[in-house]
Symmetry: C2
Subunit: 511 residues, 2 copies
């Protein structure tokens, strides 16, 4: 993990930063100087992927248990998996950190394990609470710095869309060089339209340096999302770039800046080494973005203008940037019958969805929930999710079909005293050895063969056969065959929620 000694000694920034690890405060803020920029670092590149959000603007596709970064909206890979794979030629998964909370980390870990068990096993930095990007980045920077004082970290959102990885990596390599020299590097995306949905970075009119084919410019200021008049002006004037939220810097350098500009954050996190200390420390942290908290104030902040195709997928209305619309401007999926709609996003499911004469609308239909809203109000989907939550609607939390490491289950019906599930177990997988206090279960096999442990007995149940698991009896369902196993489970009992499960053994280390 650690870098070579040569580079460590030659970099004064690192020496200072080394003190952080030992618990001693950093002594001074490193001003950006030509001398600094010329120092050649050689730190290895790590990634800190910020994955704490739900992305509730993508409800009803996103749910609390299926955050936006796990959606397969583009192609057949989740946004998070694409993010990790995009980095992999430069940053292997063992140098990737996912920064998120404990619940999401578990969801992500399982998700990546279904997707590709070996190749994508990142590390995790667990935040005890969501405190915006400054805190998340500080926590990740401490983690990396402690492992590797020379570490250069790329900070990336988990849920952005960058369709072609190559130009992105080319830009990343250039940014790495600038970061090794001590710069706080931001990626600015060259705008191709007067977008009002992004913040902008105003750069110096000239590049002060060229790295590979990229001009490195000083950041003059960060600009909030503009109105359309201003956005047009920025586009015309030039020198304004979309703030991609992707940053590259040495862990030691950003820690120095955090020490200066968010000293409480620095001190609180510096003291914490054990996870149990973190929860208390986090409570007092400022809820502020890295842009506001650090980058607007720090020196040595530069921008590398890049023009790889990028979208932050902020809301349903941004779909038109990513998926190619048809000749009427529509993006249509699923079992949809449409008559004469234009410029609309129409996402159906297996249900029948009929649309007539829509203009600039968003319709998203899922098995248990439907959204209808004009594109221009797509931001308000977040509010809808708030209302759903307040009203106690389960549909903000879970999908009807829930992924598990062994397969999926789909709730077909949830009634008073009973629940009907379709359970699909992939070949070679098995559920935990478990028991329920409050319900009995009837299982009918509708596809494949089920190996059932019921108390001490183990039997194979074939298509069109059934078995009964009384309450209180230890049981386990396994697919020992070569084809997927599907069963219908009828649960009966006064309490039929997921929480009523006692696990004795589990292939997936769940409790």
């Amino acid at each position: 993990m650690s870098s070579n000694k040569q580079s460590r000694k030659s970099a004064p920034v690192s020496d200072k930063a080394a003190a952080v690890q030992a618990g001693a405060p950093l002594k001074r803020r490193t001003a950006p100087s030509p001398a600094l920029r010329k120092k050649k670092g050689n730190g290895r590149l790590y990634a800190a992927i910020l994955a704490g959000g739900i992305g509730s603007r993508f409800w009803p596709l996103s749910r609390e248990t299926t955050p936006k970064q796990l959606l397969k909206v583009v192609g057949d890979e989740s946004l998070l998996k694409s993010t990790i794979k995009r980095l992999s030629p430069l940053i292997p998964a063992d140098r990737v950190l996912i920064v998120t909370n404990a619940r999401q980390a578990e969801i992500i870990r399982l998700h990546l394990s279904y997707e590709d068990a070996r190749a994508l096993s990142p590390g995790y930095v667990i935040e005890p609470a969501g405190k915006n990007t400054a805190a998340a980045i500080a926590l990740a920077a401490f983690d990396l710095y402690r492992k590797d004082p020379e570490a250069v970290m790329a900070v990336l959102p988990a849920d952005h869309v960058i369709e072609d990885g190559r130009p992105f990596r080319t830009a990343l390599k250039a940014a790495l060089k600038a970061a090794r020299d001590g710069h706080l590097v931001t990626f600015g995306i060259v705008p191709d339209r007067p977008e009002t949905g992004y913040g902008y970075i105003k750069a110096s009119s000239r590049a002060f340096r060229k790295i590979d084919s990229f001009g490195v410019r000083t950041v003059e200021k960060f600009v909030e999302k503009p109105d359309i008049r201003r956005a047009r002006q920025y586009l015309k004037q030039g020198g304004y770039y979309w703030n991609s939220g992707i940053f590259i810097w040495k862990a030691s350098r950003i820690l120095e800046e955090i020490k200066v500009h968010l000293p409480e954050t620095f001190e609180s996190l510096e003291k914490c080494v054990e996870p149990q200390e973190l929860a208390a420390a986090y409570k007092g942290l400022r809820d502020i973005s890295i842009d506001h908290g650090i980058l607007e104030k720090a020196s040595g902040v530069v921008v590398i203008p890049a023009n790889f195709p990028w979208s932050d997928m902020g809301s349903w209305s941004s779909f038109g940037e990513i998926l190619k619309p048809d000749s009427e401007g529509n993006i249509v999926r699923g079992r949809v019958v449409d008559i004469g709609s234009r410029n609309s996003v129409i996402f159906g499911s297996d249900r029948a969805l009929a649309t007539i004469g829509l203009k600039d609308m968003i319709i998203v239909d899922t098995p248990d929930a439907t959204l209808v809203c004009p594109k221009e109000r797509a931001q308000e989907v977040k509010e809808v999710v708030g209302v759903l939550k307040k009203k106690g609607f389960i549909e903000h939390q879970e999908h009807r079909t829930v992924q598990r490491p062994w397969g999926t289950y789909t709730v077909l019906e949830n009634g008073e005293g009973y629940k009907i599930k379709k359970i699909r177990v992939e070949p070679g997988k098995r559920l935990s050895l478990q028991m329920h206090h409050h319900r009995s279960e009837h299982w009918v096999v509708i596809s494949g063969v089920a190996r059932v442990q019921r108390g001490e007995e183990i039997v194979d149940i074939a298509l069109n056969q059934s078995t009964y698991i009384p309450r209180g009896v230890r049981h386990r369902l396994e697919n020992a065959g070569e084809t997927p196993l599907e069963i219908i489970e009828v649960q009966n009992g006064e309490y039929v929620e997921e929480e009523d499960i006692v696990r004795f053994e589990d292939d997936f280390q769940r409790r």
Copy 2:
């Protein structure tokens, strides 16, 4: 059924019409004459309710097996049941005829039997095909005339909304008097807005007669649905009334007119007494409305302007006329979360439906299908249903929950080689004694107690117990208890459609 001899003899119209029954042609068209008007008929009043349509503009609530007239859109009674009940103080159900096709008649018969087994048992006139209103009315008129040559028939659509029955019946009584005197009476609704969705009746400027509180006017012409400019002019000018599609006349009188203006229709139907003759006769009939085919040409056509609250419920956009919108102009039902919509119809179901910032939109969500369209294009829902049908979508045909005389079943999942149903049997009811060639069935009781006949054996299966019906075994499910019985049925087999059923005995005379 037959009227008294006195009236029969005193009415020359009836004497002529009596010849119809004997197969002899009517000799002359009865011109409206003051003499005729003064003839006091005394024929009994019958109703012919036209119920052949699906009302596909109300998809996804209406389906082929749940036509619009069976929907409970207003209050808790179907439109058809309301129509029958509204008439009942004047016309008991045994003088009501439902004019429809065989399939719909069966659906309606079952529907009325769930709703109220005794009081609402109308007769049926079965059309072998849909041939528009002239043919349907001719067929009903022959049927009534043959039973009662003095019969006066009120012709009514099955699917209109008339919220208060009293003013309607008051107008009907006046119309009956005019009809007994030989008039062909139409109801014209006094317009309260420049409606472009209805046809109009232009009446003579003065009433030529007063019956009760109603002025009887001569019809000058029938006017097609106008544009908004014309509709405004009609409203301002006065003397224009909405054509309600409700007519009252002697069966003999309308038959005379049909003989003159649609002689082929008259002759074809005159010859048919047995149902088997009808199919061939119907093939050649003109597909024309009673308005175009007869009323525009006949003499003695009068209008009684009435102002009972009426709507033909032509499409989803007419909901605002019937259901009271909220302060934002919305009509909202079901599990809906809305932010800032206006003037929209938002019908949710048990699923979550979220709407944001809609204006003049219609959203109708059902468990298996959703419609989204602007109000102004509500007419095109009919086309959507056509496309669904062409594409083989089941959702144009059936609801997820299907009503049966013994209760309901809900298809929870329909997969390759299996089907999952929730079956609810009302207390005291039982399904037919049946057998399936292609599927076996697992039953798990989730509520109540099931009495199960399986081969020769009869057993009671309680909550949380299950049984298995192998293919080819005669079986019957019964709710012998006092509370509703609910079971989950898992069907397994290479063919799991409803058609695979052999019935040996049935409480509801189904085959």
